[in-house]
Subunit: 268 residues, 2 copies
Amino acid sequence: LSVAWWNGRLVPAAEVRIDPGDAGFLHGDGLFETLRCDGGRARDGAAHLDRLLAGLARVEIAIPEERAALAEALAAVAGEAPRPVARLRLTVTRGVAGAGSADGSPTRLLVAAPYAPPDAETYRRGVAVHLLPDFRIDSCGPLAGLKSLAYQANRLALARAEERGAWEALLANEHGRLVEGSRTNVVLVLAAGAFTPPVADGCLPGTVRRRLLERGEIAERPLAAADLAAAREVILLNSLVGALPVARLDDRELAAGETAARWRALLP
Amino acid sequence: LSVAWWNGRLVPAAEVRIDPGDAGFLHGDGLFETLRCDGGRARDGAAHLDRLLAGLARVEIAIPEERAALAEALAAVAGEAPRPVARLRLTVTRGVAGAGSADGSPTRLLVAAPYAPPDAETYRRGVAVHLLPDFRIDSCGPLAGLKSLAYQANRLALARAEERGAWEALLANEHGRLVEGSRTNVVLVLAAGAFTPPVADGCLPGTVRRRLLERGEIAERPLAAADLAAAREVILLNSLVGALPVARLDDRELAAGETAARWRALLP
């Protein structure tokens, strides 16, 4: 039976239930992290904890745990997580509070679920993506760059892409610049190099994106529609799939190159 | 003990617990309604059900209940709700589903909690509001006009207003036009009449707003910053407070007129 970490304690996952007055359920008022876990080991927990703690400070949710306690919880839940591959989800909400107040103690929850990564053929051939023309990320919005529980817009975008047979929806911001996918960062391989949009354009600072930036494999640059049209390769990044090539962008076929496979081999 | 309506059944409210895999908790993927309940009777349930059902169709969440069954549930929970005044919350989420899927059955929940309305003095004098200069509602966004569980941005806006001693945050859209409060619609009383922003500018179609539009008390008109500066009265509307005058807009004092009190007397 799966183990969860819930408000500081390890418990059987089946025991975890959320109070209907939790701010996460009432208003999506919280943040989350999704981590991949291979053979009982969480991948790049350090990057996920960095992002979570920075986000919690920004939305002013104060949790009682120090960073080390969160890292211990990650290791403990990962060790009991389904094998060979699991998805870990770490959620922190503003908690249960009185009506209209924000004074409750935060809810902290880490759970594991089985995860089936894309198969080798999908990695080789790549996936289809759909550019949503009328969905605009507000690069200056209060949630820009946060992995907020208020994620419904992204879910609706993904559902629209899936209706068209695509694996991911690509999203632009209010200036028409490419920002990210509904659950991925995006990289365009152009003649001048491999580029991903800057956080100032409204994207989430993804952990895989971060590691590839640190290694100099990619660089930040605002990306216009013309860049998307000129891209030799388009690659999606997130903590579950690593780096996944795009084979089709709406009606346009793309060559899935070797870049994504090379990047996957570099990741923590 | 309070009664809740949960997935088609009446149960003791204390029994209600949300699965941590619920799309409402995972991603704010759902909608809600807040109703006022006076002496065991829900106010204007018809308008709330109209809006909820229209919203569910838009986000493609299909619930098993017909409208009449929802109205019955409202009446049943209202009858057992705290007195004299309660707040009812009707929540519908995409439910519990497999990883990355959206095929779960929806979660439907109606709960009641005590509610203390503003006192007579507050209604007479009015409340303070803070105009958030850097928070922009995307009038064309996928969630525009929906009472989405993905409400974190509104909660953060309200928290910022409260830090400044204000009761509400006023929000503008990407064109700089006034849209609404974090939990209210807004009306400006100008020389030419009483105006509220059109839904096309990104506001939620509130139930009190709707009733005042139907009676010809207010009309829709895009409202610029200059209109806010010229307003003789500023009035906030929602289903809990009815109509509440504004006494202060940041550093500017406003006269709380008789309009809000007259409107409250007209509401269902």
